[in-house]
Structures are given as C-alpha cells and as structure tokens.
Symmetry: C2
Subunit: 342 residues, 2 copies
C-alpha cells in the first residue's frame, strides 16, 4: 500500500510507493525507426502477452484483435483498494493513504510504432480512449483530479518502450495544481477574462512564439520554457475539462499532436519527451476561469541544483528561435507511406 | 545577456540564458576512486590552468599554491553587468534582466578528489569559503537571495568533473522559495515556534528517520523525500542565514557532511547527487521563523510526467528504511589514510 506524504516545509506531497521498486529495472533502448521486430516476446503490452497485465479495463475494438488497450498499472503509484482516510500524523508529519487509480493506455499493438509515426486517425483513437477513461473516472465521487500523461524514453522516466500513456486519478489535488488554478482564478477576478484565452490572443498577435494555428488549436512555444522546445497545444474553444473535448476537436488535436511530435523529433533527433494533459481538477472542471491544454517537454536537459532548490530552471534555447525552427519545417512530411508500406 | 521570464500560469520564473548553450557539451565520465591522474591537462579548474577561468574572486590561501579557489561562472545563468530593470512586458508576458552573481567554488586542486574522500578539515575550508562569499554578497543592496549548491555527476547536471560547488545570488526570490518561507512564517504565527526546530524535536523523539546527532547538527532522512536517501543536515541552533554559521558549527558540519556523503556513496554505489544550502532570503535571513539547512538529493531516479505535471514525485524507498541502512554503517570508515597515502 502506498502513501501520500506532505513535506511540512513546502506543502508539497509525494507518493511513497515501495511496491514500485519491483518494476523491471533494466531500461530498454529505443532503436531507430523501422528497425527491429514489430513485436517483442517478453513485452507485456505486445499482442499475445495480454495475460502479463492485470485484468483489462477497456479494449478497442471491443472484440477480437485490439488497437488500443487500457489496463491497470501493475506497479501503481496509487491504488483504489486502500481505504481513503482522513489525514493522520502528529500535526507536523502528515500522510494519507495513496488512494486512486493508475491506468496504462497501450496506444498500439505495434511495439515500435511511436506516436510521431502514427497516422492521425490512430492518434485520434488514443485520444478518444483518454476521453472515455477521463469521463468514467470523473464521476467517481472521491476522484478530485484526473491527470493524463505520456513518458517516452529513458530520460523521460519510462521503463517500457512499447508506446503507452498513463492516467492517474486521485482524491488529492497537489498544491502545484492548486496554484495553477489559483493563478487562473485570480486573473479572471482581476480582468474578467480567462487567462489562457488572453494568452492565446497575445500570442496570436505577437506571432514570434507561434508555430501553427489549426481550426481548433494553437501550437506555440512556451514563453517561459522549462526545457528547449517546450510546446503547448492550446484549445481555441474555452473549456476546462479534457473530457469535454468534441469529435472535431479530437481529430484536429490528433493531427497537430502527431505533426508537432514529428517536427520536434526532426529538430532534436527524436528526443525523449513527456507530454502532460493539464485538465482542471474536478472542483474546477466546469469553471469559467480554467482552460485545459497539452504541454510537451523534450528531455534534453538535466535539472541541476539550482532548479531543484529554487524552482528556477535554466534553459539555453530562446522560444522565439525554436518557434522559428518548427515553423520552417511545418507541416512535417506525412508518415502515411511508412505506415502503408509495412 | 540572460533574462528571467515568468510563466503567467504558475508564477514560476525561469532563466533564459542562450550563452549557456556554448558550454562544453561532452559530459566527462567519473572514474572509480583513486584511478586516473590527479590533474587533467584541459580542465579549467586544475592547477596550472588558472588562465582558463575568468579573473579570480578569491584564493585560499591568498598567495602561492591554492587549496580552494572562487571564480565567476564562465557560462553564467545570471551576470552582474546587465542593468537591473523593472518588470517589462505587456502584463501577461513578464520578463526581467537576468541580473545577479554566479560563482564557482573550486573545492580542491585535485581533479579526482571528491568531497566524500576529503578530510573534514578540507571540507571545512570549502564551507568557510561558502560563508565568506555568502557574507560578501548579502551586503550587496540589490541581492535578495544567495543560493549555494553542488552538482556532482552527469545525472546531477554537471558538465565538469573537477570537484566544485556553485553560488547564485539574485535580486529575485523565486516563488518556490517564497512559499517555503511562507510556510515557516505561518507555522510560527500559528504556534509561536520555529517549524524546523519543531521538526527536529519530532524527529529526535520518533528516531526512525534519524541517522546521526552531532553536537551542532542532526542528520535525517526526509519524511517526504523527492528521491531515495534524500538527507537533511539540520542545524541545532536556530538561525536563518548560512552566513551566520560559527567556527565550531563549520567544523561539525564538515565532519558530518563528509560522513553522510561517504555513507550514501557506500549504500548507493557512489551515485550522482545534488546538495542544496537552503538559507533564508535576505528579507528573512535574520527572522525568527526561518532556519537554514542542507539537503542532499541523490539522483538515482528520473522525474517523469506525473512529477513534471503535478509536482507529485514518486519515490520507491521508505525513509525509515534508508535511515536504518545509513545508521548501520555509521560512522563510515575514515578516509584519512587514502589521503595520507597519496
């Protein structure tokens, strides 16, 4: 059973999950595209090895061979079995049970087909599964936050190379997220506007950090990036919960997400990366001041003492410059041929 | 010229420093102890190569062959030359000049002598230099924070293997630090006590995360660690500014810092690590509610999407268990012989 623990000096929480220490230790290497077999004998996410995962939550399509699959994380950071308890401790040292859901979304049966190589329709299918699980879990009364993310590559914290995303749903909303929500709420209080809608307007006018505008999303380089090529996919329509995304928006997001990952891969030589779906916590997911977005963070730098100790990250690339580089190669060459030629 | 930039959604700041992109790219490997030459021909921190660094700030002893040396960081995140300006931007996108001091403390002339191998007297000399520079910079009217830290090894963000620490002094106090100060201030407001003194009392009574108690410091495993074996060296005397450390406290700290690094090295196989000197910002460095401490973070795990997106770090080791492991091997075998035998 894992535990949330609160650092009394910062208010931040960590999850202490000893069971996760038993995860496969060896981190596999990622071969270049199109190399290697399409299936790995001992990969728990490859077809034929379905018995290696905990019992399936969702399979698409429902019967027969699957294209996307959702399973509980075998080495979960949080689990729904532990009973949710009130805070315990002697006042200074506070902990709570690590209650929650931790799911893995297996994005494709193909072990070596990374998202940047997929067709937009395949990415759309993954995003529809995100939406389905988000909406299933948001109705759980104790769930206060549904966070969806992807770790690709060793430097991004992945221990499995098969393309997959993760979903963590908890009863706890970390201060990190509360602060983000607070900033948006204060902005609306002060100005009457949504912070993210205002940002979109400023960036559309400034143009220098703008990579691409699709009908439903803006692709931009973060003004204050934590890493070179930090990219935001910002919805045009104002809504707080990823689960409320509509059909046309999913198709649009799938196309630009695939294109953005491909463009970053071209510029940086297929870097390891994380992407994060910043959706509103349940208390705010229908609010007028929050606005979800997807953030991509390439992992080409290492956080050192300054960042760990002060929160100040040092980045070496100007976002105005990385935006220019991404624009120059936009749209990236389509990968449909690779897929069709298999 | 580098720039501070504020993320409008979180209030966090980053430093955009394009010049740092020109740092030596290749990251050297760390050989096992006692291997290799004691001096590296192309290392800018080795004796004989003093001309490769910017003009020296401090040398100990003052004349002739040095034991500790302070120089400006050649690839500084902040520089004192840029004029300090008020916030600029259109309200949403805020930036400030990257004004400040960024210094390197070369801890020893010996290229391969890491701190865990030093004699306590050598470590004490390094700590006295920290104090000297801290106190020199805290009198600069524009300096609001002096942050001292050490990155050892590639995974800790070092590009140079020669033993060194760093000091960054800025006019900006990042929200990350402001929040830490706020938590301590609120605690004192609510209870009348110092949060860190209260923590020390709780940990002394609980004993399970306690590694060692010296006359002037407590060595403990963090209750809510961001990484396995996260260790705090907490001063017994209540004071906020590292610069106010006294002679006997320096000697005591040098001994337990060396011992702790050696013990962690033994348990984890000489991991890369950062250590951070959490001193109060200038506005609070004589306050009754803040209390400085030194935090050691071994870098054996990688922050993944969950931590980047929610601030929730997942750690696999129980601090009560790591405390037991460190206690079992305490005190670690002395290294004086190694040094004497050279």
């Amino acid at each position: 059973v894992s535990e949330f623990r609160q650092d009394p000096t910062t208010g931040e929480w960590v999850i202490v999950a000893p069971e996760r220490g038993q995860r496969p230790g060896a981190v596999p290497k990622f071969p270049a595209r199109s190399e290697g077999p399409r299936r790995e004998a001992d990969c728990p996410f490859c077809p034929g090895n379905e018995a290696l995962t905990p019992p399936e939550i969702l399979r698409v399509p429902a019967g027969g061979g699957w294209r996307v699959r959702v399973v509980p994380n075998k080495f979960a950071a949080v689990v729904p079995q532990s009973s949710l308890q009130a805070r315990q401790g002697d006042g200074l040292l506070v902990s709570r049970n690590g209650w929650g859901f931790h799911e893995v979304i297996v994005e494709t049966p193909d072990h070596w087909r990374q998202m940047a190589q997929m067709d937009p329709q395949e990415v759309a299918e993954v995003l529809r599964v995100y939406r389905h699980r988000y909406n299933a879990l948001r109705t759980e009364p104790r769930v206060k936050m549904v966070f969806i993310f992807k770790n690709q590559g060793e430097r991004a914290g992945t221990s499995l190379s098969h393309p997959h995303s993760q979903l963590v749903a908890t009863s706890l909303v970390p201060p990190f997220i509360q602060r983000r929500v607070e900033v948006a709420r204060n902005y609306q209080h002060d100005t009457g506007n949504c912070l993210y809608c205002a940002l979109r307007a400023v960036e559309a006018a400034a143009k220098e950090r703008l990579v691409f505008e699709s009908p439903h999303h803006m692709v931009l380089q973060a003004f204050a990036p934590r890493a070179p090529f930090e990219t935001w996919l910002l919805p045009v329509r104002h809504y707080a919960a990823f689960g409320d995304i509509e059909e046309a928006e999913i198709d649009d997001l799938a196309q630009i997400l695939r294109d953005t990952l491909k463009a970053i891969g071209t510029q940086l030589g297929d870097p390891d990366f994380n992407y994060l779906v910043h959706s509103g916590p349940m208390a705010q997911d229908q609010s007028s001041y929050y606005h979800w977005y997807l953030q991509i963070i390439p992992r080409i730098a290492t956080a050192a003492g300054l960042e760990l100790g002060t929160g100040l990250s040092v980045t070496t690339a100007l976002p105005e410059e990385t935006a220019r580089l991404l624009r120059e190669g936009w749209p990236p060459a389509a990968s449909a041929t690779e897929w069709g030629a298999r």
